[in-house]
Symmetry: C2
């Protein structure tokens, strides 16, 4: 039996404009790493968290705690875990920081449990980390972090994750401004009810985006990347958003929007050289508005959580 | 220049459970036929309507009138049309009766105009018939009647029609009860606002259904055929609905629901022999409830409007 593993799980962009709460995609970088070792202590011990000073090492307050606890319970496992977390993804960035740690922990524990669980079942466990992080157990980040590529959370009860076809040329730019947007604040801005016409336009775009991915029709993908639900409410939280979005589209991005509940902003592009031009134009906006930021450029990765 | 054509356009099932106002599919039978002849009268003359006594021959009151008028205007065409309509589809049945006549008229006129317009443009013209029939210019029946197969109305302004991949084994059963449901009454029952959670579940299913069609994953198609928006409000309008739906699913249908705004009920099946069993079980329900009906069984047709 393997007693120690080290797993990485990627950052993710959820929503993808039209797919509020259901779509998400994995990017190559940044990523979190979780090293997990079996112990005989009977408890979960977070020995170290590298790359971040603000997260708690108390397993009841760190997302890996409830994930490992749920999996141990399901396996009637009574020994213990020693955990070392390496945060590559800044907490609160809106690119699935808590989800990546949760996904990496779930994937790592499953390796120690001889792959007792399917990837879809791991999504269910990793959602326990999301429950701790945001109060509600969402899957739109943990699913792509585990599966890789672009995933659809078709349904929650029962959980039904669909890994969508991934066209070969998608690259993504992520700009992470040096500001924080609390998920709870971002969710509080949303209307609890939508006009039926707005909902119809939104699901027309979900259908169009999924069709565009399968048929590798980049124009259709581009036309479908609209959000009538979250972006109109949340854009004002993110300094520089509208300028970045405009410049991304003007520079050839297929679409651009808020990553998850922000503050990160993403732009989806066809091909890496297009993405590089888009990254430059978005960066220029941030420089001119004197807002600090980090920038990432990555192909949309088919690689989900895995051993490293 | 061709001076006379005869075109058929198929009945259609719109909504497909989750895709309210955006999805629709063409079936082989029944269908409407429109014969169109160029004249020098400078006006639209409906010479005959066969197979139906209740429709007006006044071109301002029959759906073909505004369709032909709009196309003639776009072409600066000042001659006239002589029209003979053969109704294979019962008006008010909920399987796109007005849409099929509108689609056939648009397709026929386009042939006389040397195919001046694309299929998508014809959808725009055929919507003028829908505007007359129901007060609002919907495309979810005219699009599949023109294109064939399963179509998505991604957007209205500008109009963006996507023909989705059609898995080979889909068959559909349609039961048309001997009752009428006015589209305006059915629309009036709908909530004008949806809880965000409900909308999210609905667009999760739209994504799942489109993914299931492209990946030919019949189980995913089946799981996605749920409607949280229209069916809960409209099912009560249709005598026998819940019994038919239950029996269809128990007999192996992938899904079942209201066709458009009803009263027709459809069941989507994998393969013709499955569809035959489903048709029998739905028919038994109607017999036992002593409700008269017509039944149709057809593969989902990739054939849209065409010369006959």
């Amino acid at each position: 039996m393997v007693r120690k593993v080290r797993v990485r799980a990627p950052a993710t962009v959820s929503n993808l404009n039209c797919g509020f709460d259901v779509l998400g995609m994995a990017i190559n970088e940044p990523f979190d790493t979780v090293e997990l070792e079996l112990t005989d202590t009977g408890r979960i011990e977070i020995a170290d968290i590298r790359g971040c000073d603000t997260l708690s090492r108390d397993p009841e307050e760190n997302v890996v705690g409830p994930v490992l606890h749920a999996m141990a319970t399901a396996m009637d496992f009574t020994a213990g875990f020693r955990v070392i977390i390496e945060k590559g993804i800044h907490p609160g960035s809106g690119i699935g920081s808590s989800a990546a740690s949760s996904a990496a922990a779930a994937f790592a524990a499953n390796l120690l449990f001889d792959n007792a669980f399917s990837l879809s079942e791991l999504v269910g466990f990793a959602m326990e980390g999301e429950r701790l992080a945001s109060g509600s157990p969402h899957a739109d980040n943990v699913a792509p972090s585990l599966f890789g590529g672009i995933t659809l959370v078709r349904n929650y009860e029962p959980l039904d994750i669909v890994q969508l076809h991934l066209p070969p040329e998608l690259s993504v730019v992520v700009i992470h401004p040096d500001t924080e947007v609390k998920t709870s604040v971002a969710r509080g801005l949303l209307d609890r009810h939508l006009p039926l016409e707005t909902a119809v336009r939104q699901w027309g775009n979900v259908g169009g985006l999924v069709a565009g991915l399968y048929s590798e029709d980049y124009e259709l993908i581009s036309r479908s990347l609209e959000d009538f639900v979250a972006e109109p409410r949340r854009a004002g939280l993110i300094h520089g958003f509208s300028g970045m979005k405009k410049s991304a589209l003007a520079s050839g991005a297929l679409g651009a929007g808020i990553s998850g509940s922000g503050p990160s902003v993403f732009a989806l592009c066809r091909g890496e050289s297009s993405a590089r031009a888009v990254l430059e134009s978005m960066s220029r906006v941030m420089h001119s508005e004197r807002i600090g930021f980090k920038a990432y450029l990555s192909p949309v990765s088919s690689r989900g959580a895995g051993i490293c």
